[in-house]
Amino acid sequence: MAVMSGARAVQGVRAQGSDGPPAQAGAATGVVARLFAPVDAASLLAFRVLFGVLALFSAVRFVALGWVDALYIQPSFHFSYPGFAWVKPLPGAWMYAPFAVMIAAGAAITLGWRYRWAVAAYGVSFLYVELIDPSYYLNHYYFMSLMTFGLLWMPLAAGWSLDARRAALKQASQTSQTSSAPKPSRVALPAWMLWALRAQVGLVYFFAGVAKLNPDWLLRAEPLRTWLSVVGMSWPSPLGGWLSSEVVAYGMSYAGAAFDLTIPFWLLWRRSRPWAYAAVVGFHAATGALFQIGVFPWVMALSALVFFPPSWPRDAAEALRRGRALTSTRRTPTPALAHAPLTLIGAPTAARPQRWVVAALAAYFALQAALPLRHHLYPGEPLWTEEGFNYAWHVMVMEKGGHADFWVRDPRTGQRWLIAPDSVLDPIQAKVASTNPELMRQLAHLLAARFRAQGHGVVEVFAHAHVSLNGHPARPIIDPRVDLAAQPWRWGPAPWILP
């Protein structure tokens, strides 16, 4: 990627004016020029700080809740992503090491210290942990992975960072004319960086809304109806009763779908933006209070700040300053910084590298738009088969319950063994594997391997699994006549999943 590093960038192009088009882009027209127009970096720098804080907080929280031990150290077996079976947890307490890296990297990202290395270290550690076991997949983990990937290409330590301070000091020591040194807090970045983050956040909301356009959500208010009635049990009367009522379930279902589908556009429109952001905060505060969804509300509420004008942190600081000034008898001078020229960082000036950046962005977002739609390539309902389910922002649209028994049969002796998933797996794995067909296939392979290791030779493994989706009566999900241990992973639809 032809993006300049932060250290080199401080010597980059100097644009005139505030947020206007770059001087060198006068001849350039169209999308490329718009994408490389300099914008105030304040919003992106604030995003870096908030992302770092979230990364730090998430990792600390994960460790503090004992999940490293429960999810990665205690289980004797882990499911695997196709092609990533080689990713295994580190032995014993070493599994805390990637979380220590995430904590340190989160702090470094926040402070903007060795930014690129910090993002890379965080990304590698986070991805490693996530790749260990697909039964722990969560949408916001995937979102964090994508954001980390995005941050890797953006020089977001160009200001408000230790890196920028170090670079400024270095430059100042090299030249006696310190007045020509760029102002770290008035740096500009190419617009594509801001729009890429906006597009990523917008896609999450939009496809989460699309995923809600299904009969269960719209016609039965499921699974919200079930979840709300469960939450209602803990609420005092009559609030608990109302929370469990049909009206509230349907109201929240439709409001939730409308919110997800439209909120990116409301956030983009200047006039509706403040109210839309208030709705974002309200929505995530409500879902965070009602359901155990961890840091997801924080991640989305803070990420949605990228929709505000690029100078919003500076504007907010200015508003605060003015607010204080209004209540103060002292006069506060307007800082000259607000009108200082912008210094563009991280933008290639040649046409060819710019086109490469645009092509890479187009390819990335085409993939991001295609992944949530890929379930149309598979027969059946994605919530049922879970084929094309992950990486598609199917956020809070599924409540599955299931019971699965695995029957191992030695074809030579006719001996049979009845194996319950919870006798082999940890509780979360067992629960997910009782409803997820692909994980059932992997469990069947595990059982076959264990029996082979015990000297039984090749055994057959059959799953008798019944699943209830969103309150529908439980029904068989796997063809009980199929030897799952003989089924390979495949790109296409699995023929042994019953409709």
Binding site: W67, A70, Y136, L138, N139, H140, P223, T226, W227, S229, V230, V231, G232, M233, S234, W235, P236, S237, P238, G240, G241, W242, S244, S245, E246, V247, F291, Q292, I293, V295, F296, R322, L326, M396, E399, K400, G401, G402, H403, D405, W407, V408, T413, Q415, R416, W417, L418, A420, P427, I428, K431, V432, S434, H464, H466, V467, S468, G471, P473, A474
Partner: protein, 385 residues
Amino acid sequence: MMQRELRLRGRALRVAACWVVAAALAVAGMGSWVGCEAPASQDSAPRMEGLVEGVISPGYEALAESVGGLSQASQALCAGPDAQGLAAAQATWSVARARWKEADAFYFGPAKVARARVSFDWTTLSPEKVEALIAGDGLLTAEALAQAPADAGGLLAVEYLLFDGDRAEGEALAAFVRDSAGGGRRCGYLLGVVGALDAQAAAIVTAWSPTGEDFGAELTSAGKGSVAYATAREAVSEVVNSLIFTVEDAANLYLGVALRLDGAATLDPTTLPSYRSGGSLEDVAAALRGAYAVYIGGWQGRGGEGVSAWVVDRAPDVDARILLRFAQAQEAVAALSGPLSEVVVKNPAGVQAAFDAIKALQTALEADLSPLLGVSLTFNDNDGD
């Protein structure tokens, strides 16, 4: 400049105030509208109270009473070992065993903390250890035997002492007769083990009693100050999971083993719990009785505030299906009689039918009931989105 800013702030405040009023009116309007058809309160407290008072406390009281009966019958037997006394002791053992298996369906809270399953019902008994302890010179008081190895105590140790099992016919009684003439350590062991069980059952009753430690209040105040259960869902999950585990064990540990679904080439009767008394099927029936009581909220088929009440509120069809599965499972087990190791040879189809019926019940509880009541890990133990 300042006046303009003050004007702007005033306007912003007026707009905000308008929105707050509008929102309040909307909520109030919706509240009155919803109020017309407000459903019954979802408050878990009354139902938990019903479950505690209608099922759990009476269940443990019945267990304590039955162990008390076993203690008395054991003392009578030891006072003068004869066939009549042995038969009486055996009958009281069967009652205590049934009460224990019934209580399996609500094995949580104080019983679980005290690891009552270990002291009451360690599934693999070691007769060698029992005989070694009897032959030794250690203390045989209830307190001492409460610390004995799990595979040398509990109801299955008492069963071993009272029933012939795979020993020669009449051997159980003969051993007591010999013992009465030889120091009485066998009787001491019997009375010590039963005494330990008696003390533990009484402690559990006290722990659940409102005049004792009142653990029931933890369930009824779940999500509202309970120390044990931060949310009502946690308490409901505890109840439902315990119910499901009981049903699963009834299928897998009894009928599944008898059908050799553990891969055994031939059935080893000693792997069946209660095989010495021939009461394995009674264990299964009792476990289903206890599970049914928790589900409907009362004993002897009298429903109260049980799990069913929550299910009816949300999905009456699921409730009907579960009740049907309970009936089919109980009927299939009732159709079998005799020692399970013999029944499975004479009537394997019947045992298979009972196994299938209990599995169907387990499926209904796990796949239909659990998600309905939020008894899943979707939003538990790890975040979910």
